[in-house]
Symmetry: C2
Subunit: 225 residues, 2 copies
DNA sequence: CGTTTAATTGAAAATGCTCAACTCGGGTGG
DNA sequence: CCACCCGAGTTGAGCATTTTCAATTAAACG
């Protein structure tokens, strides 16, 4: 199957998911799909970057490790997100499937070849890198200067913004959230408990991973403090 | 004066300073220079991004603020560095001169116009965005998962790598370093004292901003722990 | 020079972490 | 089918690291 990455008509894009992939082909990019089981590695840090990925189903975490096992998750990639995009030939994060996940694969080299002749594709890559950059820059402020409740609130707001339905069904564990926010899992749990008791949110269903935001106003107020 | 941004012959670049600016002109970019006094704002967060800047002399800090004054410095820009590069029309950081600083200005719109017709320039912008991204990604790990001594060690190694001479003359205050590392200025001071007493470094001259690394091996060992 | 800003150091307080106990659900296998 | 086990989550208590507050010293700058 041959598809072409198309340009959005707005000059910059609101989410990675906005990148359309259609079949009006002149600059052809070979496509593939793979499904990964829960917990399996998609690629490792420092491995050669052969592909760029788009999440079709499931969720992915990308992270860095210190030698003693401390982990920093850089981002969660949900349905529609494109990740694994690097300029160099080597990945700077490890990527793992959080749950059973289906990915669309795009050969990096093919993309490069297309970009060589097609300015539009190069600009697209630039846009995506910039969007990526914005997320990481905001996350830096969170990690450097926000307290635990502010971090968890920011996380919930971020996830809530990507969720169409009322009930957020988070695919990641408390440990994942903790490693994303630079906290311990216990601190994340305590912050969620405090927010629940304060009437900001509630757990529904049998798991504690299905969350309903009860007071978006106050949650955002905590986030943007 | 009309200059052209030229491509490096390596596929990706080790520092922003590696971007040569020469006068072999076919895609012309208008250039200008401005000098800023110590402490003055170059641009503010959310202001329209009219220019891209290159440090000719001095040093710049770029940061984000929370409403109650907490500050996160995203990067220090030293001589040769290019900053202020955004895809959108709006800056995402505030930029300030740390000391008396001379900047080279490049009109953003001119650059965009050139990039529209010149793939090489677009790829250059992409390379710079990716390099930027790498720095911020590494800094995320530091802010999320490293302790105070590891952070200060990483800062010193980073500065040391950009300094040709034996003596590092840091332009920034302890507060700046603290806001870069997500610490209090007292914690930075204590970490430096501990490293000095451990024989890793020493202060020279009358100020405490001139630092000599005595044991690069051990300093790096702390950084890469 | 004198005043202001920067840096260091100590002591007390706060925030978040570690360790530990306990609960709850969802498999798994006897 | 049910008991058990395991992973995930919550909660408490004590501990560690970092922050805050404060005092002092040193340096920079008009």
């Amino acid at each position: 199957m041959f598809l072409r990455i198309t340009r959005n008509n707005t000059s910059h894009l609101s989410t990675l998911g906005d990148f359309g992939i259609s079949s009006q082909s002149d600059a052809a990019v070979n496509l593939n799909e793979i499904t990964y089981k829960k917990g399996t590695e998609i690629y490792g840090e420092k491995e050669p970057a052969e592909y760029v990925y788009q999440v079709k189903k499931g969720a992915v975490r990308t992270y860095k490790l210190l030698s003693d096992g401390r982990r920093q998750i850089g981002a969660f990639h949900l349905v529609g997100d494109i990740f694994g995009l690097v300029d160099a030939s080597t990945h700077r994060f490890t990527a793992e499937a959080i749950v059973k996940t289906t990915l669309r694969l795009i050969k990096r080299r093919t993309l490069d070849t297309v970009a060589d002749t097609d300015t539009v594709v190069t600009r697209e890559l630039l846009s995506m890198a910039m969007l990526n950059l914005k997320h990481v820059e905001d996350h830096m402020l969170l990690l450097g200067r926000k307290d635990s409740v502010e971090r968890v609130a920011a996380f919930l707001v971020e996830m809530d913004e990507r969720e169409a339905s009322q009930v957020m069904a988070l695919p990641m564990t408390r440990r994942d959230i903790a490693d994303y926010l630079g906290l311990s899992l216990e601190t994340v749990s305590r912050a969620l408990s405090r927010m629940r008791h304060a009437g900001l949110l509630n757990f529904v269903g049998s798991t504690q991973r299905e969350i309903v935001i009860l007071d978006r106003m106050r949650l955002r107020a905590v986030d943007f403090k």
